[in-house]
Symmetry: D2
Amino acid sequence: MSGNTYGKLFTVTTFGESHGPALGCIIDGCPPGIELTEADLQRDLDRRKPGTSRHTTQRREADEVKILSGVFEGKTTGTPIGLMIENTDQRSKDYSNIEETFRPAHADYVYTHKYGFRDYRGGGRSSARETAMRVAAGAVAKKFLAQKGVTVRGYLSQLGPIKIDAFDWDQVEQNPFFCPDVTKVAEMEAYMDALRKEGNSVGAKISVSASGVPVGLGEPIFDRLDAELAHALMSINAVKGVEIGDGFACVEQKGTEHRDEMTPQGFLSNHAGGILGGISTGQDITAHIALKPTSSLRLPGQSINSRGESIEVVTKGRHDPCVGIRATPIAEAMMAIVLMDHLLRHRAQNADVVCDTPVLKG
Amino acid sequence: MSGNTYGKLFTVTTFGESHGPALGCIIDGCPPGIELTEADLQRDLDRRKPGTSRHTTQRREADEVKILSGVFEGKTTGTPIGLMIENTDQRSKDYSNIEETFRPAHADYVYTHKYGFRDYRGGGRSSARETAMRVAAGAVAKKFLAQKGVTVRGYLSQLGPIKIDAFDWDQVEQNPFFCPDVTKVAEMEAYMDALRKEGNSVGAKISVSASGVPVGLGEPIFDRLDAELAHALMSINAVKGVEIGDGFACVEQKGTEHRDEMTPQGFLSNHAGGILGGISTGQDITAHIALKPTSSLRLPGQSINSRGESIEVVTKGRHDPCVGIRATPIAEAMMAIVLMDHLLRHRAQNADVVCDTPVLKG
Amino acid sequence: MSGNTYGKLFTVTTFGESHGPALGCIIDGCPPGIELTEADLQRDLDRRKPGTSRHTTQRREADEVKILSGVFEGKTTGTPIGLMIENTDQRSKDYSNIEETFRPAHADYVYTHKYGFRDYRGGGRSSARETAMRVAAGAVAKKFLAQKGVTVRGYLSQLGPIKIDAFDWDQVEQNPFFCPDVTKVAEMEAYMDALRKEGNSVGAKISVSASGVPVGLGEPIFDRLDAELAHALMSINAVKGVEIGDGFACVEQKGTEHRDEMTPQGFLSNHAGGILGGISTGQDITAHIALKPTSSLRLPGQSINSRGESIEVVTKGRHDPCVGIRATPIAEAMMAIVLMDHLLRHRAQNADVVCDTPVLKG
Amino acid sequence: MSGNTYGKLFTVTTFGESHGPALGCIIDGCPPGIELTEADLQRDLDRRKPGTSRHTTQRREADEVKILSGVFEGKTTGTPIGLMIENTDQRSKDYSNIEETFRPAHADYVYTHKYGFRDYRGGGRSSARETAMRVAAGAVAKKFLAQKGVTVRGYLSQLGPIKIDAFDWDQVEQNPFFCPDVTKVAEMEAYMDALRKEGNSVGAKISVSASGVPVGLGEPIFDRLDAELAHALMSINAVKGVEIGDGFACVEQKGTEHRDEMTPQGFLSNHAGGILGGISTGQDITAHIALKPTSSLRLPGQSINSRGESIEVVTKGRHDPCVGIRATPIAEAMMAIVLMDHLLRHRAQNADVVCDTPVLKG
């Protein structure tokens, strides 16, 4: 039911399957007067696009986005923004052999039971291809957030067993992994090459953060900022875990260790990830997500077909051996959408608030 | 804005502050004809209730729930169910000293900036006291789910540094920690006693699972079952991380290791936690949450007051040194609410679906 | 499903049946800092209350409202406002004879089919008694609107065949009908006395208007201000028609006659009822509603019972022979709720808008 | 804010301006397995299309709809259905003279104040052109409803001063007015010709009804079926009034006259328009709407420009002298969308209901 919309005020509704004619989305509730061109969206779309290095799927998609409405004379009008990306490299013949096959760890089996049948071409709606529209919508949110001094950025924090040690934002866009540690890039390249040769896949951890977020965003008790971020980030294909701030490390922390003490000069730490009581503190918002290994493998696995009979499955199509590699712009997009939505929600209710207490530095 | 409702079809809207006259909620969208009495709700409320062991806050609340509407002659009518719990042990004098004080890791500071002032009595709306109504609403969901063969249960999987080794569902209700490993209970008791003496607090990890869930629940792409569970679980006070199935362990897993192979006799493993592509597989749904240590400590910490001046804070009131201890029924409640909502959503759209493919055993 | 909430940002969710323990509601999304006491709500509740003249039902209800949350030290906190009115004069024995009877033009038959059974005591949830909570919520909206210079007022414009000729706002609160034409009050009194004697009922027309509404409220294309007003007003029990501005008179108007010409000094007329393209113009918002005659009559009518057998129905309980008489405060409340919700929605999206065009006088 | 979505379970979100590249919509929540082709949508689109007779605007649009997603092998998949119609006859030069002009009774002035500026080309988003997507979405709903035995049909019941006397469904599609009274068609033709010559416009009344609706649809108290219909119908451009059943005639009716008595053979009348207590009775649902005269006139009118200066306005573009003429398929579409949404909502909550009481014939 109607699960294809995210947001309450800044809403993003998407459509499109892996091998249909087009992907698209409608962004509703965007404030008017924001300068917006297709180039603004294309930049992040190109960061997510397949086929840009040998480490991602070799599907070739231009992912060229068209703005169909909601922008007039270079500015948003306040009316819904319609976006579309035509699918060009569909090659549906690649998938015809799996029409009656369920692949382990894919959505084939559950889609079939939920809807009575499925679009078997490239995963249909369950394909990660739909994330292109999230990235486009996120780029709109980023434009608005930039006006408000908010920046959302992400990076790869772990690729399979390889963790980052050093950190440099400037490195993130310099390699195909969004890896901030230049010393680990060669190791990642080698790891990925071996993995591809093996026909296997691996998981990854992506981190995303927002700086410049004002204090006060988030709507307790159910629409807390952390809860909405968890929703948005967990909705990305292959994500199996979400952490805010210290996340699961909190389990072993003592209160004296975890609490972020405050001084007139600012917070002394940020274990909370910039969110307390479900509301932004003004510090950097930090989140981490775990992505499972891609399920399409060239190594055979046991499965069943649509008649429930035992079969062996080997995937032959084009796939990402580590979906995490292209997930950084997607995670950024979802965080940007959540923050923009909450910025609008906050000012709807609290535009008249006057507060004498000084704002701490983040 | 309107952040106090959870669910789309089975909706739970709550109100109430720690030291106001009452807590309450409205459950809308509950199917008619379900047998329901106050005793059904009281059982879970008593499991969450403070003051039942020396390890939780000594606030004394009967947490006696009244059904004000929506039930007639012992059955739900299909109209909204109004519930209320009166606050009886408020002692608001305990809190008067903190009117102008911000406590580190509390919501005081963010509430003040968001709303312009705050209800300083016991945390006001940000108090974990509001979770009582979640538990009551969850108990309604559990009644409906039970009719459909779905059972939701939770347990403590880690208390600070103490992890469980053995597992026995029958032990969970036999100790104040909801600990399934009887061999660890004494260690936990001792740990908590030391912690309380020290004036400190610690984090915890809670696990919750649902069995008997039919295949097909979850509404991609944004309202995936895992995304909604993440939202619901992260909305619980003090939660900083959510995992579905193997969660963050996926980062280092290879595809061959993670994928749950299928045979005509059933799935061979459940790394996915019962959810693929955002839709239930029919296996047990498993989730884990990380709770941060309570922020109210008897050990002094640096902070500021409402004029931005440096102060030292020591908490004196009644508090839980480990909020995780009472969180098990809350996590169960949120999972039950999500599953019930999705069961209704699924049948709204897919009631006419016929599927020839056999259903695998969970 | 979840049909008991109105509003997107300023949301009102109600519960309660005619003969249950209590009625209540949760108002979510109310801005903080608004002065609010129970007396603010009681004023409108008393205007709606039954039993204040011989022309309305003789049920005696104090309709005393309690604020259970969301207000601290006399001001709204921004957290949900819980309200409750206990039912005191329930006399459910009056209704026991109709347990198996369907009354023509009542909701008995449809509730039975929708939910499988019904709460037969006084109409259960379908009773006009639920409108008490709308009035209470509307009073909160009125407080906020007053701060913004917006006033919502209503009056009876027609009672059965008796139309008003003269108009004086000052008269509206001086008679039990909310009639602005003092010359018609005696005629209405006599008409109602005759009607009651006859055991029959009659329809009515209520008008409601808002002045001081800023230009710009309303969210095309589906959440236009007129569409939301139609929704809100048509949701009131017994309403069968809604008009904005000239309403059905537009059918025979020519364009030159209908269009409200503009001059630098202001609009020259207000046929549009203050709404163009679904957005407020800054003129008075005017709406009219038609209420059907009450269906509970002392004159026998043909009906069926729960076994589908033919029966004759005569109503004996206490009822309003003209529901329109008490509907004025309810219509005001719904208009106030819609305007408040839209005021918040508008500023969420358009808070940064700068417009050089001068605002016309209303 | 996010006002471009209608429905809760079967949701329709639209985008597009009069002179942008395209119009589009996303239909979410549609059940899977419904046979659907572009031809199914085109039929109703052609009924609404401009330029098919001399009585409507001479803008030439093929209104050719493309299905971009959600349909696979001729059947809906249960995933979002993306639709698009490219604008082909935009001629934006026609409108350049009105960039700084506000036209009386148009949305120009309110859009400018709401959003800070406006898309002046043909009304932008406020153009009736957006209704094409409503009609397309309505056609999808009609396909589903047809499977359930529900038929939605509309007709013109009054054109300016000309009321219909006779009624024949078979005539409705035989003339350009959707007029069911063949004896009035010539009179309407002549009236429209004179009106066009005069440069003026006129209002109209459209009626729409649904037969075969099961008893039980509608979600009190706010999402009553009548309230949702009022919302949906009032959201159509130019609509100023909505009636259910007898509508405003109820004001002068007595209870004995209005009530629809019941017998084992069925209801004896249908004054209620098939809805009691906000829930369908199983009888025909009947609604009527009043449409105002088009505001674009060739007769000069007083207005202001964007600097607030007095001007005289004469419209020169292509327009409908009576918007009501093309409104019939739009009203049908909105009623179909509402009914489909409520059919899904009803079965979500009440799928398990068993009711022994016999269903009366409609």
